[in-house]
Amino acid sequence: MSTNTPTIQKEEQGTGPGTEPVDSPLRDNLRALLRHRSAMIGGGIILFFILIALIAPLLLPYGYNQIDPDARLQAPSGEHWFGTDDFGRDIFARVIYGARISLWVGFFAISGSIVVGSALGLIAGFYGGWRDTLISRLFDILLAFPAILLAIAIVAMLGPSLENAMYAIAIINVPTFGRLMRSRVLAVKQEDYVLAARAIGMKDRRILFSHILPNSWTPIMVQGTLGFATAVLEAAALGFIGMGAQPPEPEWGKMLSDSRAFIQSAPWTMVFPGLAIMLTVLGFNLLGDGLRDVFDPRMKQ
């Protein structure tokens, strides 16, 4: 390009060089998120649970499996903050170790569904044709079963364990992310800037990763946060019916089911794990709703 720039009239520019902070849309959104009150409350709850899950061994005078036959079904006290269960185990310790289990299961299950679902959705949406038909029908089949039933079926096949429950939760959530990604890709694919990228001569793969993916992942992130809450619930549900965590693992759902017999005589055995589930789910839902408000304002009711 020649260097003798002819005088081409410039459009009036309100601001001079570097006078205004130049922010990426992402950073703008993050700032909006920090101002979102309920999202921050949700984030706080989650952080709190993550923190206590991490430092659990330092907090606790009792191991979660420490049985004390002399202290069975004791009410909450200074010694046992949340009371004890029918084996005399400290419920506070078990609830806190339970946070480790629930967050771990939720994280790996949802990460797995996001990776697999997004990849399938991306392929289906971008390439279309038989790949789309195959993948979409697969999603339809998975979605034809009630999610928890499908999870039970998968665990029944693999054998009941916490790990298998995690796989099951990952599998049943794949179509959610897959469909979401597919629909985003179909929409973004139609955008002029994707057409422009093709007009430039950009290769398909590069268009996919450089234009389509960066404009498609925010709903996945929102859904992922909300899905985390569902995954925690599903893990608890599987634990409750004995298809997830196996004794003596201190899984919240399992703790609930073990304490059914003592609802009236020792309600604390049930209240505290129940509260823990509720708070975790609430935290992720609040954060997810906040993310949605910030990243996808059109979804706001």
Binding site: M1, S2, T3, T5, P6, I8, Q9, K10, E11, Q13, G16, P17, G18, E20, V22, D23, S24, P25, L26, E191, D192, Y193, L195, A196, A197, R198, A199, I200, G201, M202, K203, R206, H211, P214, N215
Partner: protein, 327 residues
């Protein structure tokens, strides 16, 4: 006048979109978006294409660049058959021809900075190293009337006119010979339109560009074009030099279109006779038999309902497709 080889030749270009329905996605019909269009563009000239929305002018532009794969027909660029090129060859050819889009808000990726957007074509075609590309990108910003400090900004921080300049800089980056401009100013404010049009004219002169300029605004087309083609329902109905078209339109549709343009002078404006077309444009999925315009033509004859008029030269390169012109 000896005619050098045209830069771009379009022959019998067709683009039909299938309409699918039913459970198994059976083909139920097709939309004839572009139905047998033939024209050529000489090097350095600007060919304007006008027509109502839905007449297939944008699809024509996209089919030429193979952004929509043509159903049939030939497109030759400097004598090379584009429609026959395989993936990688076509990708390399894209350096020669670029596109400017209508909507400056949709045609820039919101997550990339202006600098990234403009440097992207250079990167894709492996032109220069990172430092060189940055230099060129800054130069391009200057060329289109922006400043180098704009490089780090995101599209949402620009006005419509500025965004369109970024789109033009992106198209210009690989130094193409042909630019297909698909309604490049119709989304802009009138005051900005002329700025962008002037910019495009300056760039044409400076970089020896050839434009295919698609628009629905007759005065914009008149301003920028050397020759003008008029499209109706996927077909080219008239094509000739700008002045001849505006002074002596042959096709009844062109006559009706031009009669709708207000004259910026009150006296002739009062005397101006308007041809009001009745009815709507027929659906391109069921175009009328014979001449596509016969359902609305004020001079319709029997032959128009059955035989499609040939698009041919009626003297001095004044092409038109109308039975009225046949002896």
């Amino acid at each position: 006048m000896t005619q050098p080889q045209p830069l771009l030749e379009v022959e019998h270009l067709k683009k039909f979109f299938p309409i699918r329905g039913g459970v198994f996605g059976k083909k139920m019909g097709e939309v004839k978006a572009v139905d047998d269009v033939t024209f050529s563009i000489r090097k350095g000239e600007t060919l304007g294409i006008v027509g109502e929305s839905g007449c297939g002018k944008s699809t024509t532009g996209r089919a030429i660049l193979r952004l929509e794969e043509p159903t049939s027909g030939k497109v030759r660029f400097e004598g090379r058959e584009l429609t026959a090129l395989k993936g990688e060859e076509m990708r390399k050819m894209r350096r020669e021809m670029q596109m400017v889009f209508q909507d400056p808000f949709a045609s820039l990726n919101p997550r990339k900075t202006a600098g990234e957007i403009i440097a992207e074509p250079l990167k894709v075609h492996g032109i220069g190293d990172a430092r060189k590309r940055k230099e060129q990108m800054k130069e391009l910003l200057q060329v289109v009337g922006l400043d180098s400090f704009h490089a780090g900004r995101y599209p949402h921080q620009f006005s419509g006119g500025q965004r369109q300049r970024i789109g033009i800089a992106r198209a210009l980056a690989v130094r193409p010979k042909l630019i297909v401009a698909d309604e490049p100013v119709s989304a802009l404010d009138v005051s900005i339109q002329s700025q962008v049009l002037n910019l495009m004219e300056d760039l044409q002169e400076r970089f020896d560009l050839t434009y295919l300029f698609i628009a629905h605004d007759l005065s914009v087309v008149r301003h920028i074009s050397d020759r003008v083609g008029v499209m109706y329902l996927g077909r080219m109905v008239e094509l000739t030099d700008r002045d001849r078209l505006y002074e002596n339109p042959l096709h009844p549709y062109t006559q009706a279109l031009l009669s709708a343009v207000p004259v910026p002078d009150p006296e002739p404006e009062v005397r101006r006779e308007r041809i009001i077309l009745s009815g709507d444009v027929p659906s391109p999925s069921h175009p009328p038999k014979g001449c596509a315009f016969h359902t609305r033509c004020p001079h319709v004859m029997d032959i128009c309902r059955d035989v499609r008029p040939e698009f041919k030269d009626h003297g001095d390169g004044h092409f038109a497709a109308c039975h009225l012109l046949d002896p």
